[in-house]
Symmetry: C2
Subunit: 196 residues, 2 copies
């Protein structure tokens, strides 16, 4: 891993290409740094603005072999079903962020368990980490960003009405891991033309 | 996951707190946004500068039951042993980034395989994803950031001389997964007082 001096580097993630240096406010321009393999954004003061993919963390909340999904009340994918997930915050471990997002979006209390999978969407600059979680309390209720929360058995997943390819990939991996099921789907590295 | 308008939001990751808006170069200040749960950095134009953890990806390159490690030729942890790893780039899937870093740091050609684990260091704002990888070519040689590359059997891991807590966690999980071994160590969510 290349050394990055914390005092003069400001890592940026996905989104618009930044135009100004977060350290000094001066304009940035692309430059290839010594021993680096792609252009970076550098300001006249020499501060490097790093761009990095963002991390989304979420759960598949399970009780009695059924998984809870939430219908989205916001864009993108308004009205479609997704598992609770959201951007990891600085200062959080991945399991902590996954539990927080689950409680925010479904009002379910969960204990985060085994890793279901890690799913990349390189063109969106997003990596999603999904855990299985045991529902240990709360009641499934819509929250600020969701309009409906309900549980689905492995044979009831609304495959045609899911919000994102990562939701579909995680649910396929989860269904394949259920007793009496095999891995009937090939793992997908990522899906081209993803809607988000 | 909260909606973030790509046209006026600039996600930032770990490092120094940014002082200026990457979109317009004006100073940012902390403000709590509607329905949000922690303060964000906002400029007078209303652009939000998001800060997100950074993602490190790496492999444990294995051949004939032995794992290759590289001695670091750079700070931090100069002279200590680590598995090949580095920051994921925008546009890469996690497996692609892990393979690139492995080839850059060890000159080994690998096929990335099963996930070994996901390790959080919340205080550093870093999440590390480690895969096992099959060595399929190349020759183990030090590269720009490494001074020595060699292989270790499960009983030969230089536990006292490893670079980071994430290296230790990944190697412990890998050793525990070897034939005839059990999970002799408790999984660590993260380690306080991590050197990096």
């Amino acid at each position: 891993m290349p050394q990055r001096d914390a005092t003069d580097s400001f890592p940026l993630t996905i989104g618009e290409i930044p135009s100004f240096c977060p350290a000094c406010g001066k304009p940035v321009e692309e430059r290839v740094l010594e021993e680096d393999h792609r252009p970076r954004l550098v300001c006249p003061e020499g501060h490097v603005t790093w761009r990095n993919p963002r991390l989304v963390v979420g759960t598949l909340p399970v009780r009695s072999g059924r998984v809870y999904l939430a219908r989205r009340a916001i864009e993108p994918a308004l009205g479609r079903w997704g598992n609770p997930s959201g951007f990891l915050e600085v200062g959080e471990a991945v399991q902590e962020g996954a539990r927080r997002e689950t409680e925010e979006e479904t009002e379910l209390r969960v204990e985060v368990g085994r890793l279901v999978g890690v799913y990349s969407r390189p063109h969106a600059g997003i990596v999603t980490i999904v855990f299985e979680a045991d529902v240990v309390g709360g009641r499934p209720e819509p929250a600020a960003e969701t309009s409906e929360v309900r549980d689905f058995g492995p044979d009831e997943i609304p495959w045609e009405d899911l919000a994102f390819s990562t939701v579909e990939s995680a649910l396929r991996d989860w269904v394949a891991s259920q007793p009496g099921r095999g891995p009937t789907f090939e793992p997908e590295l990522y899906v081209e033309g993803d809607p988000e």
